[in-house]
């Protein structure tokens, strides 16, 4: 029995929206999806006319849909933006080398120039080499820290005005949960921000912040967008994995759970008595850091000295190792 589109357009519905429960046809869904992203962009003043915007592109569903929708909206609403795709090659054989092929396809399809920046050229180490050195225990820490900084460096290199990432509502809700579980109040405050700016770096924003992962996948499916889906060949982050499963279980019981958690995260405010870390600059690389030596430089120092644990543990622990080495 066909279900009619809730928008009364006369067509048959193809999906049920998790956010609203509406049954929509293909065209009305595309319209709703794109209009919501447009409204997010406008109401948060994400872009300024004539800007050059870098899209962090992994070849995955989120960045593929982001590039597609931004191109479409830029033409439809005349934002006056230019785009460039920025990809990071972590140097993981069989994982990133395949997905980079998808990014190259995006480059042709969306007529956007592409810049690929590798860990090897930035840090002198590929993830394959790092894993060979440190094993598979803390590799996600290295990869995460390096990727974050690699995107900042790439954006600076390309002289863009802002960097957009494909983070969706599920990703942010998951991060809210993670930060609560870890008791990381400073990150909990920052993680829901749609735009993050800090001195010395290029602003980052998340146009898909309020978009459900489920709808991103449905959009890509009905638009027949080609994307790459895989799992990192190294051990996945188990803790995040649990948070993810928990979130999806909640979503099945109550589809609005994702946006509810996101809103809770936005509403949380920290009392003045809670000490927030100060944000300064890394004395080595000059990037934003709350420590004297940033996490990336700290990890790198550990790798280069053959002491990979240097950057992983507590700062006090790293200081002790450094002091001992200096005395030695």
């Amino acid at each position: 029995m066909p279900v009619l589109c809730s928008a009364n357009c006369g067509s048959n519905a193809v999906l049920k929206r998790p956010k609203t429960g509406d049954a929509l046809c293909k065209e009305c869904f595309f319209w709703a999806f794109e209009t919501e992203v447009h409204n997010t962009i406008i109401s948060n003043k994400l872009f300024q006319r004539n800007s050059l915007v870098a899209i962090a592109a992994s070849g995955g569903k989120d960045s593929t849909v982001l590039a597609y929708v931004l191109k479409l909206l830029n033409e439809k609403y005349d934002y006056g933006l230019r785009f460039v795709l920025l990809s990071i090659d972590e140097g993981i054989t069989g994982y990133r080398d395949d997905s980079l092929e998808t990014v190259k396809k995006n480059q042709e399809d969306y007529e956007m120039p592409l810049k690929i920046l590798s860990y090897e050229e930035l840090y002198g180490w590929t993830m394959d080499q790092i894993v060979a050195q440190i094993g598979r225990k803390n590799n996600c820490t290295f990869c995460g820290v390096f990727r974050r900084q690699a995107l900042d460096r790439g954006a600076a290199l390309l002289r863009v005005d802002c960097l957009v990432t494909g983070h969706n509502a599920d990703d942010i809700a998951e991060t809210v949960l993670m930060n609560i579980l870890r008791g990381d109040i400073a990150r909990l405050q920052r993680c829901t921000a749609i735009t993050t700016t800090s001195e010395g770096t290029i602003p980052r924003c998340k146009p898909l912040k309020y978009t459900y992962e489920r709808e991103i996948v449905m959009y890509a499916y009905f638009k027949k967008l080609v994307y790459f889906s895989t799992e990192c060949t190294f051990a996945p982050n188990a803790y995040r994995g649990y948070a993810r499963v928990f979130l999806k279980d909640l979503e099945r019981m109550r589809p609005t759970a994702i946006i509810d958690i996101l809103h809770s995260g936005e509403q949380l405010s920290v009392k003045d008595s809670v000490k927030m870390p100060e944000r300064g600059k890394c004395t080595r690389c000059g990037f934003v850091s709350s420590q004297e030596i940033c996490k990336a430089c700290s990890l790198l120092e550990g790798l280069n000295r053959g002491l990979p644990k240097l950057g992983i543990g507590k700062k006090s622990h790293a200081d002790r190792i450094r002091k001992a080495l200096a005395e030695f």
């Binding site: 989120d62 499916y221 799992e231 993810r244």
Partner: protein
Amino acid sequence: MASCTSSIPSGEREVSECSSATGGAGKELKVNIEFMGGAEMMFDNQKKLNVTLPPAECKWTIRSLLAYMKVHCAKGGGLERFFTGDSVTPGILCVINDQDWELLDTLNYELEPNDNIIFISTLHGG
């Protein structure tokens, strides 16, 4: 393209839960299954399956199809990440003939010959 045509062992007949036999019963039923978005990795990287379901006492549903797949089509590791209880793991979407299964009573949807059933994972990254 792989297919699973062997009949369901009677011991695992979760299909026979329903009481009265309805139309379509007593005949083989062919459906096309496709995996996307990384769901294929949980099925030994098979992207498509042509499944011939054996005659059953009552209509095949997505629920009984999943029970059948668990026994006959499951290959490789990571299957516990595809099946949860009598359904798919939350985060795996199902599209039946280009329609979201949420519009089709999900697990209770009654299969028709040559239905195209697609499972899309949202759990895999890029």
